[in-house]
Symmetry: C2
Subunit: 701 residues, 2 copies
Amino acid sequence: MANWIWYPGDFEIYHGMRQNFDREERGFFWPAYWHIADCRHHVVFHGKFTPEKETVFRVTAKGEGHVLLKSKAEAPEGFPADQVFYQEKKYRIGEWISCPAKEVRIDVVLGNRTGLPCIYVEGETVFSGKEWTVSDFVQPAVPAGLNGMYENREQDPQEFDYTCEICRPAAEEKINGGILYDFGRELTADTLLHINGAIRPQTVTLCYGESRAEALDTEWCYLKQVLKIPGEEEAEGLKYLTDSPFGRWEDGRCYHTKLRAFRYLFLTAEYGTLEGEASCLITPEALYKYVDFGKRSDFSCSDELVNRIWKVADTTFRLSSGIFFLDGVKRDRWIWSGDAYQSYFINQYLFFDKDICKRTILALRGNDPVTGHINTIVDYSLYWIISLENYYKMSGDLEFIRMIYPKMESLMRYCMEQTDEQGFIYGREGDWIYIDWAEMDKEGTLCAEQMLLAKSYESMAAVRGLLGLDREEFVQKKEQLLCHIRRFFWDEEKGAFIDSYRSGRRNVTRHANIFAVLFGFADVLETRSILEHVLLNEAVPAITTPYFKFYELEVLAGLERFDVVMAAMKSYWGGMLLQGASTFWEEYIPGQPEEEQYGMYGDKFGKSLCHAWGASPIYLLGRYCMGVTSSAVAYETFSVKPRLELFDRFSCYFPVGRGTVWMDWKDGVLDVYTDKEGGVLSAGGRDYALIPGEHVLVNRG
Amino acid sequence: MANWIWYPGDFEIYHGMRQNFDREERGFFWPAYWHIADCRHHVVFHGKFTPEKETVFRVTAKGEGHVLLKSKAEAPEGFPADQVFYQEKKYRIGEWISCPAKEVRIDVVLGNRTGLPCIYVEGETVFSGKEWTVSDFVQPAVPAGLNGMYENREQDPQEFDYTCEICRPAAEEKINGGILYDFGRELTADTLLHINGAIRPQTVTLCYGESRAEALDTEWCYLKQVLKIPGEEEAEGLKYLTDSPFGRWEDGRCYHTKLRAFRYLFLTAEYGTLEGEASCLITPEALYKYVDFGKRSDFSCSDELVNRIWKVADTTFRLSSGIFFLDGVKRDRWIWSGDAYQSYFINQYLFFDKDICKRTILALRGNDPVTGHINTIVDYSLYWIISLENYYKMSGDLEFIRMIYPKMESLMRYCMEQTDEQGFIYGREGDWIYIDWAEMDKEGTLCAEQMLLAKSYESMAAVRGLLGLDREEFVQKKEQLLCHIRRFFWDEEKGAFIDSYRSGRRNVTRHANIFAVLFGFADVLETRSILEHVLLNEAVPAITTPYFKFYELEVLAGLERFDVVMAAMKSYWGGMLLQGASTFWEEYIPGQPEEEQYGMYGDKFGKSLCHAWGASPIYLLGRYCMGVTSSAVAYETFSVKPRLELFDRFSCYFPVGRGTVWMDWKDGVLDVYTDKEGGVLSAGGRDYALIPGEHVLVNRG
């Protein structure tokens, strides 16, 4: 089986640029405001074969170039017999090439100015796959990149293969001189606009909404397109003539827009002198485009609110996960490292898809040399480093770790260049010290940032250990840094880590303290103090984003404060449901007036209503409430420790690596079943070995 | 007047990639085999204006993005009144934007994955030009790039604006079952193939030739295309459906190929069962595409052979000069630094076009950081460095020198990293030590390479001096290197510089010795010795490329050995004319059998018959025989010193910066006239100040 191959990482970088250029707002594009890496446009692929008999092969390519076949030849007279000579001949791309039964080397030289240079070589013996190497005329050749999605000649790796589904509106309503279509749920879809009537409008206006209010606000809706309708006589050529980043006429009767995120579509039409009901002669369809990640987990329990939270989180997360883990689907549609970092965890309890992790990691990182922080944010560079250790723990995929490691080290060293005499990382001009949308004392170096740096050193040491490299430098770096963090940021009186020390304000927010516990840096006494003085202290300002709620609740769950976790989940995520959310939002401020609830960044509809970081209940339920965790690399051993006291009954299953664990709890009996070796169940105060294919039943202790 | 603007250097880098991907051979492409830089695809342009009254502007762009208008606003309450605040609003590209009468800053954020991001801003007060800056999200903003070619909104800087001319065949001949068309001279042209008859062929085969022999050799001709002819019914859509890098159907009756270099075109047609004369129903036209550099010089004299050499050199050089100085027009169509270096000199005596120099310099150099030598050739990196000093001397264009200087220094330092304890530059793996197509002892470090290195240090010192930077490092580097060159490479016994010293063979070729004199490194005694023992010594292998003939004859002309120069010019270039050349060749080996004369690189028609480096007689005639030289920067002062003894009569004119100098020599009287200040004529043993508008007449002394 042949694969399309490319320069490793470039498929992801190419699609990453497309993705990061794809934010749309009120008729214009908004390419991300940081450096977006570009794929190489000029490469040469190398294959090496020794067919046992004469054979043929054919190269298909995206780009222009040629095939150079070098077959081993006798040394000419006068040269030592053991000196290697090759006979060379150039061939066209696309032609069947005869290959002799001897050692041959194949070079495919390829340029593709406008896209991703990639090839597909087919033949019985000679075909493209992971044994091929590729070079970019700068670095020595490296193993070619490929993935399991592109195994057919007819495919084009420059286009991502989405699963597509035509969706028709679930409801329509005549209102405000137009028709409001409700597709029943949020979609990421192209719009197909069919002009049916003999009477053709002059213009059609499409106003989209994640909420009903947004679609009906023709002035302030975030996504809007005004379409001039061509005359009846227009034909085929229209398809090419009208091709724009916003869409194109498939023919004179069907306009096909670019992909947008929406649930509601409000259509109005202008007919010139004609007026009235004519707009119903236009019918919209949504061409829903998604990646079918399959169903690897489910959860339902005796608490209907929790069930709804699970379902809405599932919808939110699936919409936000495509080629890459995105922040949100209407906005920004960008790949953000901090957002992605949380998605890696949620993914582990929902799809367990390794490929989207790898794609996101590669797209985020771009190319060496490092020219700035990922997304310009110092914390986001650090999350990226940490994410590699996490990815390995989840997947056991050492091949990927080996391939990416040089970029891990170069980014780590880039970060280390901006540390002060205490070893604290600081922001340079143009760097963004983010952490969270929260008021924090950011004068001088920030404690939360140092926690991430210490965790990065730990991840570097761990990954270097995996690769057989010396760990010492980073082990020491981490220890030293933690020592300085304690000395400079721990406030004995407040019993907490302060934001920063330069200003002398000794301000306490939750963030650094959450990290201290989350990463295991706080000892038992510090942890107890943080719980009391910060986490359960209402005087410390509450977290307002689902983003940091994730870490806060994870820490509380880790400390077994499920009372707080479940109450928070139900009030916070449940609160959004009460406000009509059918996907979880970027931000939720309980008690905010309804007319303000869709606004953010000074924009009436600026808030993303489908934001990946809103889906953390999946992780909290799977990882903590149901207690499913890997206790070795890639679930070689795993433990299952459901908190039976939280629910009267539940029924769920979760991935444990390639296997699954099923749990049913009802009428005081827990039934656990798995198809995977290595599991241990903890329930009712006891441990049970899980044997694949055998049910373990535990009665209420 | 508004200009299209882009990231400085990126216009040239973008077109450079197109150019270096454009080599075609027997139905496939051959992208250059070295790293080709790519333009940035994601930039933000910055403008700053303070209109006196409210005004409007509009942004046109290649790429997707938006316009951010920031107008200065009052400081909100509670902020110091002198703190600067801006009110921000985003607009679409393409819409007229109202701009208030106050200080505004305009950002145009732009992404263009597939091409060159560039903008054109039009308005009475607000428009794009050289005051704009641009940033790439990595480096601080720099002044925007622009040139005089793109001043209209309707233009697209992604397409180079050639002058076009339809050419019809000068002659046709029925032969070998097809028709051979002779366009009378070599062209760089698209082919338009018109299908006229009611009887349509199934396929048409186009075989091109720089020579008649090549076009008629349907198996081995370098450029060939087999075209399937669509049925009668095909219409408009064909244009888009058949668009390929090789050409497309304009409609069902006209196929439009890509640009190719040819003089002859041999057409055959397949009609299935029909046979015979039908092929005459297809008529070809050539859409000649060129840059009209205008006529800045001319030369004719009493020697008809020299006149023909001038004319053919002129044709050769004009064909090879387009967006960039190319090596040759059929092959390679690549931008080579060593070839371009010679073109800069020829240009100075033919077009005097500064823009093509700048374009070529920028495209060759690409981006920082340096990842390898220009064209992989160490000598070609050094020529690039030297060329900047030359460009300044010719143009006085300090603005360009200032803009390019960081890339000059980084390339110089890259070269300095590969010098040994003697300071000699050596080749690393993947580096090509070229110098010339000649047998040379390349064991260890090569003398000719060190001569170029010394000249590079001299150029660095000169350019740093211009920019007010310290010169000392490079002055010393040069002196030290010259001292070591003498110690290690000068052979007292042979009275010449040897190729290299490691092998002990102490081999002498012309190259290093030519450089020693050319760059003024050899003292009077050394020069005399080199002349005797190398240049006039037939035992030292002759130069076989016009490339090094350039330097050899320049040195001999500088030593006033015009007897040798004129004899060589007439025999070598005259020899090509005798072989039927209508443009000058890449290589000419007198006495080579006719059937082999078009071959090179083991390819029967591999030789380029129109190669820029063949045009050096223009330079030799203008610079040395007519003695027109700048004696200060950019011809602020210049001297004219015609060698009257070489011709019975001549009539010529040459550029002297923005001005021109005319000379007529006949019947023993020299008449010199110029429109430019600063000239001094040396003739008949005397100097004469040239006064603009006044003729100076000198009688034979």
